[in-house]
């Protein structure tokens, strides 16, 4: 095949290459070395600085299943981080669509830790170390009301248990008892927490967002309104790396596995661009000679 024929290859070959680039790494997970960028480190440090005796981590998972690949590993990584340091976790969702996903994530990470636990104190116990309070519409209402009383706006948890009967809720009343709100979102929910919860109650806010949204959030990082951020799947992968490095937790790191697909897909696109250009210049030189 002559180089100039590559000018206009059937685009279905490109689609096939992209498909393989995405599927093969999912089937054969591989790990690539990963550096950690500043916004992710900032969020990790902010969560790490929470005193487990005094405050808790509030995870607000505000995404729909459509951005699961990007946002969901963030929830899992944060849960692992908090459990590893025994920081109590309150989990809420602003959109009902995420509820099933979060329920599964809480159970999965609890199971991971309890499989390793040897004593009762060592285990992660629902109600003592973590509470999934579920969903209360519309989004702005819980954001504001949690400043007054968390159990007030979430009278029962996701499973229908009265939330003030959960032992951990005895000492967690409002945003004063929250070390940081981590809002993981496919929309602007981190900014709602900044606008409504931070300005009024002074609670620190961290963000997890999709790659498309990330540029919109940088200005808030610069002003310090956001303590840190996980941007897209890469941000999630970096957080996984931090949790792994600091606590030696080696459970499945979905974002890192996804980054395998990402890397290869990026390389495939770039390779096609290079091939296209080589063919383009080869053709042009030939036309110049003719």
């Amino acid at each position: 095949m002559r180089v100039s024929n590559w000018m206009n290859i059937d685009r279905r070959w490109i689609f096939l290459a992209m498909g393989l680039a995405i599927v093969v790494p999912l089937l054969l997970p591989m790990r690539l070395p990963m550096g950690v960028q500043e916004p992710t480190q900032g969020l990790f440090d902010a969560v790490d600085a929470i005193d487990p005796e005094k405050q808790c981590l509030l995870i607000s998972s505000d995404y729909t299943p459509q951005t699961e690949a990007e946002n969901h590993p963030m929830t899992v990584a944060l849960l692992r981080h908090a459990f590893a340091r025994r920081i109590p976790v309150i989990s809420v969702v602003l959109y009902i669509e995420a509820a099933g996903l979060i329920d599964a994530a809480v159970k999965q990470v609890m199971a991971e830790f309890n499989a390793r636990a040897t004593t009762h104190a060592d285990s992660i116990i629902y109600g003592r170390d973590v509470a999934f309070l579920g969903w209360q519409p519309p989004p702005i209402v819980p954001i504001l009301s949690m400043g007054e009383s968390i159990t007030g706006i979430y009278p029962v948890d996701f499973y229908g248990t009265p939330s003030d009967s959960l032992p951990m809720m005895a000492r967690i009343q409002d945003y004063d008892d929250v070390g940081i709100v981590a809002a993981l979102s496919s929309s602007s929910s981190p900014l709602w927490y900044v606008m409504f919860a931070q300005t009024k109650f002074g609670v620190p806010v961290g963000a997890g967002c999709t790659a498309v949204m990330a540029p919109d959030f940088y200005p808030y990082l610069e002003t310090g309104q956001l303590s840190g951020m996980m941007g897209g799947m890469k941000g999630a992968a970096e957080y996984e790396v931090l949790v792994e490095r600091n606590f030696g937790i080696t459970d499945r790191a979905r974002a890192n596995e996804g980054m395998g697909s990402q890397s290869i897909a990026h390389v495939v696109i770039m390779a096609f661009v290079v091939v296209g250009n080589i063919a383009f210049f080869a053709t042009r030189r030939k036309e110049g000679q003719a």
Partner: protein, 219 residues
């Protein structure tokens, strides 16, 4: 009359729209809340019927004339009717008069949304990953300086996003961040500033009756 009355209403509503941001008085706020939450919401809900009428007639005639692929028109009409009936009579999540549950199998419209529309929509969306590849291959050719700039900055940012880029040159993510925050911001700002002026000028033209395309053009 035929265009003066609609234009007069448009001007009146345009004034309400423009001034709503500037008047904090509760009376004005109440008026605006009424316009937005009641009047305009109801009006726009009715518009859908216009479109549906056209869609149904179009596919009905395709079936009658047995045009190419007319079988798909059956799929469309049946799925539309069934979903609409389930939704109208079954309520959004099965609270209506029509039962939307057989045993543990429920098929209310919210379920149809989650289980039919979401997979279809998400897959349409995911086609973009493939299309980005084919568009990049076809168009990122260094034909001239501008095309080269487009290609080069895309290349750097793509590389800066993945671990491989960092492995090649540890500063690459910073370079790609710089491109996003400096040249990209400048270009977006410049375009956005012009757009604001265009929007305002167009509104003025509409209010002055110079811009008449919304009336269907003509005189």
């Amino acid at each position: 009359m035929k265009s003066k009355l609609p234009l007069a209403l448009l001007i009146l509503m345009g004034i309400f729209g423009i001034t709503s941001r500037f008047i904090p008085h509760p009376g004005a706020e109440a008026l605006n809340a009424y316009l937005r939450d009641t009047l305009l919401r109801i009006i726009s809900a009715f518009a859908l019927i216009l479109g549906l009428g056209n869609l149904i007639l179009r596919h009905w005639s395709k079936i009658k004339k047995k045009e190419e692929n007319y079988g798909s028109s059956y799929v469309l009409l049946i799925s539309l009717t069934v979903t609409a009936i389930i939704g109208l009579f079954g309520g959004t999540s099965g609270e209506g008069i029509l039962p939307t549950r057989i045993g543990e199998f429920s098929f209310d419209v919210n379920t149809l949304y989650d289980k039919v529309m979401i997979p279809l929509g998400a897959t349409m969306f995911s086609l973009l990953a493939f299309y980005m590849a084919s568009a990049a291959y076809r168009s990122f050719r260094a034909k001239n300086t501008l095309a080269f700039l487009l290609l080069a900055s895309a290349f750097i940012v793509m590389l800066g996003q993945v671990p491989l880029g960092q492995a090649l040159w540890s500063e690459l993510p910073s370079v790609s961040h710089w491109i996003m925050t400096v040249p990209n911001t400048a270009a977006k700002r410049g375009i956005d500033l012009g757009i604001t002026l265009g929007v305002t000028a167009t509104l003025l033209k509409i209010l002055a009756g110079i811009e008449r395309s919304w009336l269907g053009g003509g005189s």
